[in-house]
Symmetry: C2
Subunit: 215 residues, 2 copies
DNA sequence: GGATACATACCATACAGTCGGTATATGTCA
DNA sequence: TGACATATACCGACTGTATGGTATGTATCC
């Protein structure tokens, strides 16, 4: 446990390391079951550093949600699913990408803000709202592609891009719950296969005709 | 707070009342943030009664998941969505029923075992597994109708009844997360509209031609 | 020399869990 | 039928500790 020394270039990174620890531990144990000492131990910092950077445990929860929003938006912005010229292909590539990154341990790919929002719904409204902003901020990034795909494909059916973007999130989040409940990541992937089929239906395209991503 | 007296016919109901309190409080605050004292206060029993009926807080968590499985399976077994003679109509009626019971406060209609499984995934595997049994036990009750509908409609596409039953749960659970994150029950209902459309697609039936259940 | 970024010892309390006691029901044997 | 024993279902004061948070000191940077 090489704690950063005073001279170390890592100096000042206590905040980031605590946020990373929060991300990892809360996803596995939940917010309430994660103690400040847990976080300090994992981040290899002291309690003084914790309460210097965050005024309270709840404040860390909010900061963790915001940190999640920042890092994931960077991650998704850099992802290859934006490459296709066709908007619908980008949407389907997003779903395929979400499926592809489901690998390894459950606590590594499940959604921090989905877990927290669910858990602290009534006990910590501030954290819950921060989680909400993260989730709906992410759905908003999908909306433009979905809207463009609607236009390109001349879709006029009575569903909105906003609604489908949210539904996509719901399927992903629900898949995570099943995966956790059944302790099997494949359950999350299975949901995305259905979502892919649904989106193709909405845009009247045949299955598996844009690219290859099933077994 | 009329606590049951020694002579009261309510005698022996402490266990049930604690389980009901657990159901309500955990759905709002999460498992870890719910204290034994919270539960005793709400159930109007003493700590002695709590630890007489449950050996530990974790044991109550498991019992609460099992209680949830029992009561919800009774509730759904008695629900009117089983009435239609046609299997597909029963499946669609299930989705409509799930949408219809979304009313009132969020903590009243969201899923206890979905919330708990997500939260205690790594910190309390026994509780998580009890939640898993409840969730997948419920999906199993849908499977028969889906399978019958597949047969009746001559569907041979490469999805299974089991998989669609699980997907249905994923959509419902995911809808709950969005509803909590956005503090708006309509977000959960919206997901069920998409699910309805998807299922009709899978069975090649037009939208809204079997009954009325929108808005 | 002041602000920032920690470190460390300490504190108050909330928490899960314990333990000795009590009231009631049920069984049993004379 | 009644006395006694046993088991069940609680009651509520107590406890050890874990936990969130604080207070004070110190090194480094600007």
């Amino acid at each position: 446990m090489p704690r950063p020394t005073k001279q170390s270039p890592e100096r000042g990174s206590a905040r980031i390391r605590l946020l990373e620890a929060a991300r990892d531990i809360i996803r596995a144990k939940g917010f309430a079951a994660t103690t400040v000492d847990d976080l300090c131990r994992t981040a290899a910092v002291t309690k003084g550093a914790f309460f210097h950077n965050f005024g309270s445990k709840d404040a860390l929860g909010i900061a963790a949600a915001e940190f999640w929003a920042e890092t994931t938006s960077g991650f998704f912005a850099a992802a290859p699913y934006h490459d296709p010229a066709d908007a619908l292909e980008r949407v389907l590539a997003y779903v395929a990408f979400r499926k592809a990154i489901i690998a390894g341990d459950l606590a590594e790919f499940t959604c921090l803000v989905g877990t927290m929002a669910q858990e602290v719904y009534a006990s910590a409204p501030d954290i819950r709202d921060a989680c909400g902003r993260s989730i709906f901020g992410h759905t908003a990034t999908l909306e433009a592609d979905i809207e463009a795909a609607r236009r390109d494909h001349g879709i006029t059916d009575d569903w909105t891009a906003e609604s489908l973007a949210r539904y996509t999130q719901a399927v992903i989040q629900g898949g995570f719950i099943l995966a956790k409940a059944g302790n099997d990541p494949a359950l999350a992937q299975e949901s995305l296969d259905h979502l892919d089929r649904y989106i193709r239906h909405l845009f009247h395209v045949a299955e598996d005709d844009t690219d290859e991503w099933s077994h």
